[in-house]
């Protein structure tokens, strides 16, 4: 069965015909080539498929594509204004080596974005709590947490300079 949906993806309104068997991650990866969205488990455990849905992190493996009608989606491809410059959270992950294989990284960064938007100065506990839905099997999390702390500091400093 086919369904036609209108969704706003990374700032662009798209009308797409989807197979109702498609999960949101299939739509993003296979139809729209937003391959930052990774499917690790398809059971809602690993969080590698995290996307922002109307500004909140959700797991795109556990949402039907046809159910996205009328909603706004952001993936890491939609972060920042200019594709040539990394977002400050991405820069912090690079600086602190907050990744190894990179499979979990886009989702980690979206979870960081969601965390820092409501809690600009998170404690280590806050960070661990916030990324508990994102599994990383390489790093042991230590450098990811350092990256997030660094990102929070950098964003805070940039705001101070801006003000």
């Amino acid at each position: 069965m086919k369904a036609t949906i209108e969704v706003r993806i990374n700032g662009l309104t798209r009308t797409v015909e989807v197979d109702t068997r498609m999960i949101a991650a299939d739509l993003l990866r296979d139809e729209l080539r937003l391959t930052s969205v990774h499917i690790g488990c398809a059971t809602g455990n690993c969080g590698a498929c995290t996307m922002l849905l109307d500004g909140s992190t959700v797991k795109s493996c556990c949402i039907l594509a046809a159910d996205l009608e009328g909603q706004q989606i952001t993936t890491i491809e939609g972060l920042g204004q200019d594709a040539s410059e990394l977002h400050s959270i991405q820069q912090a992950f690079v600086r602190n080596q907050g990744l190894q294989c990179g499979y979990c990284t886009p989702a980690m960064i979206l979870s960081t974005l969601a965390l820092l938007s409501t809690n600009p100065d998170p404690s280590e506990d806050d960070i661990r709590h916030a990324i508990s839905g994102n599994l990383c099997r390489c790093t042991g999390y230590h450098f990811i947490i350092k990256s997030i702390e660094d990102a929070a500091r950098q964003i805070h400093n940039a705001e101070q300079l801006g003000a």
């Binding site: 398809a42 059971t43 809602g44 909140s56 556990c62 039907l64 969601a114 839905g133």
Partner: protein
């Protein structure tokens, strides 16, 4: 991509949704999808028709009226966790919502979906049993309201008929001065509770309810006030723990935690929940 074809319906009104399930008893209801979608991805559930409740535009309100806090079935866990009315009038429900799954799950999953799924380890179940919640079921004919004890029948099995939707959950507004708590035991944050417990106590301890989850096919509710005549002393906690252990006789195990372990943990969690609830009472001399 799921392998099996199914019809997908995403009605814009509750009336349309009810009509659809009135005419067909083979419709699988999709709310947040945090349990259903993994099961579909794994091929454990192969629905022929899926009804999404995500576009109804109703059932997503929290309100207080006539001494009752009511949450629409489509209220998402993140909202249950932070809504000021829930925090004020049923703090143990907020506490349970804060630890459901992880951030992403809480942003999508709904209280109605969790209740209708009725996993015996779900965080809400002991809270709803302890606070005396009622669950509203709606069909095209009308509403009926059941207590938690009537609604939860067995493992992932409830009193909901195929022609009904869970539309609301209501709990009595917690009286001033009363205390409530929610406690869970899990291997890591985000994993299902092995055993969980909720408590609701009056400031004078003349009423003290503890409900346990994970120790049988449905929540177990216990009245503990008779053990608390001398307050929450060591003897009282031993009696409370014994009562929790006895009431958990139907606990079955899995590979990580057998039934006897769950019963032992029920003892601990019941005491912990009761103590925390008593600590949160107001106006009680200790």
């Amino acid at each position: 991509m799921l392998s099996r074809e199914f019809e997908f319906h995403a009605p814009r009104t509750l009336g349309e949704a009810l009509e659809l399930i009135a005419a067909d008893d083979d419709v699988t209801v999709l709310a947040g999808g945090m349990s259903l979608m993994p099961m579909m991805n794994l091929g454990l559930v192969k629905p022929s028709k899926v009804l999404s409740l995500n576009h109804l535009g109703v059932l997503d309100d929290v309100s207080v009226e006539d001494g009752c806090l009511t949450l629409g079935a489509c209220v998402r866990h993140a909202c249950v966790a932070t809504d000021p009315l829930v925090l004020q009038h049923c703090p143990s429900l907020s506490a349970a919502a804060r630890v459901v799954g992880d951030t992403q799950v809480r942003n999508r999953g709904t209280i109605g979906g969790s209740i209708a799924h009725a996993d015996p380890s779900a965080d809400y179940l002991p809270v709803l049993a302890a606070v005396g919640a009622s669950i509203t079921l709606t069909s095209s004919i009308g509403n009926r309201t059941l207590s938690a004890a009537e609604f939860f029948i067995d493992v992932m099995f409830t009193a909901r008929e195929p022609s009904e939707l869970v539309t609301a959950v209501s709990v009595p507004v917690q009286p001033h001065g009363w205390g409530a708590s929610y406690e869970r035991l899990a291997r890591v944050e985000g994993s299902f509770a092995i055993v969980n417990a909720a408590a609701l106590v009056s400031a004078d301890l003349s009423s003290a309810t503890v409900a346990l989850g994970g120790v049988g096919p449905r929540p177990v509710t216990l009245e503990m006030a008779s053990y608390l005549h001398n307050g929450v002393d060591d003897a009282a906690l031993i009696a409370v723990g014994d009562a929790a252990y006895e009431a958990s006789e139907h606990a079955t195990g899995d590979v990580m935690s057998d039934g006897e372990y769950r019963r032992a943990m029920a003892r601990v969690l019941a005491c912990r929940a009761l103590r925390r609830a008593v600590e949160s009472t107001v106006g009680r001399s200790r």
